[in-house]
Amino acid sequence: MNRPPPSPADAVPAALRDLLERELTPGARWAHVALLLLAAGASVALASLWMTEPALPARTQAAFAVLLAINLGWCGYAQWALRYRRVLYARHRLLAARLALAFCAVYSLGAFALAAFAGVAAGWPAGALGLVMSAAAMAMHVRADRYYAGLQRRREALERALD
């Protein structure tokens, strides 16, 4: 892969090197991706349970609602952080979309397997919801892949024009 020539160490002031380290370190970025995936997964599981359990008492319904709201809140926070604070660049977006697609596919397969082999009726709607999420993850993946490929193509075109 082509990379810009290394810059002299003293060309970047120390304060900015710290800023770069803080902003570009992958740990916090992937922690937010994991948080988003976990919170989204938990939200879907809670919503599936809530929708498929018949005649729940009001107190339990309220508990489900609160738990769901908390998880959706975490989803919102993680999305905000990934959009404005721990920005995902093209290659991160592609990897995050792949992760989302893999998790959604595993979730859907698991739900359908429970329904088909263990006779858990709630597995069907949960699996259907998983398919919807997989479709959304696939759409994200296509977009991220197109964006990444577009940037790479443009960069290669600039390099070719040099020859």
Partner: protein, 186 residues
């Protein structure tokens, strides 16, 4: 193969590397643009501490915003536009106009100049520029010191090109008047 740094499309190439998420591209971007942005920030606020704050804030915004830059070929006006907004935010926060006469930095100027006489001339010119009203000083600095085109300056300051032209015209006229009064740098 990396583009040579003097290639006119090098900035676009760097911006693409940053958008892809390559650390080396960010290092190269900062190494290339930190000095010019700091110089611009200094002219905006008039002091070194303020310039450091502005330029730090600028880079933070750049790191968080470059993924959304739609036209990587327009990196340069985009960077200065961000620095300008960061500077304006700081000035607004301070409820003060930029200092009319900035503290000068003879060391930097001396380093830029090959000979002491030339450094003195640059210092005098710098002092004249710093006395201009902020809008004229900004247009002059972006055009002659940072090498931005009229179109790029219009994008940075979010005003029509006609406004840029008239600010440059006024800046030149004011400079000429100052030179006539106090002597022109050689």
């Amino acid at each position: 193969m990396p583009l040579p740094t003097d290639d006119p499309r090098y900035d676009e190439w760097l911006a693409l590397g940053c958008q892809l998420g390559e650390r080396a591209a960010f290092d190269a971007l900062i190494a290339r643009w930190h000095g010019p942005l700091r110089g611009y920030a200094r002219r905006l606020c008039g002091d070194d501490d303020g310039a450091d704050e502005i330029v730090q804030d600028t880079w933070l915004r750049v790191l968080r915003g470059i993924a959304g830059l739609r036209e990587p070929a327009r990196l340069r006006p985009w960077l200065f536009g961000i620095a300008r907004r960061a500077g304006m935010d700081r000035l607004r926060g301070r409820y003060a106009e930029p200092a009319a006469e900035a503290a000068l930095d003879p060391d930097t100027l001396a380093l830029e100049a090959a000979e002491p006489d030339r450094a003195l001339d640059l210092l005098r010119l710098q002092r004249h520029i710093d006395r201009l009203p902020p809008p004229e000083r900004e247009a002059l600095s972006l055009h002659y010191l940072q090498g931005l085109s009229l179109e790029e300056i219009a994008q940075v300051i979010e005003r029509p090109q006609g406004t840029v032209k008239s600010r440059l015209f006024r800046a030149r006229a004011l400079l000429r008047r100052q030179f006539d009064r106090e002597g022109e740098p050689r």
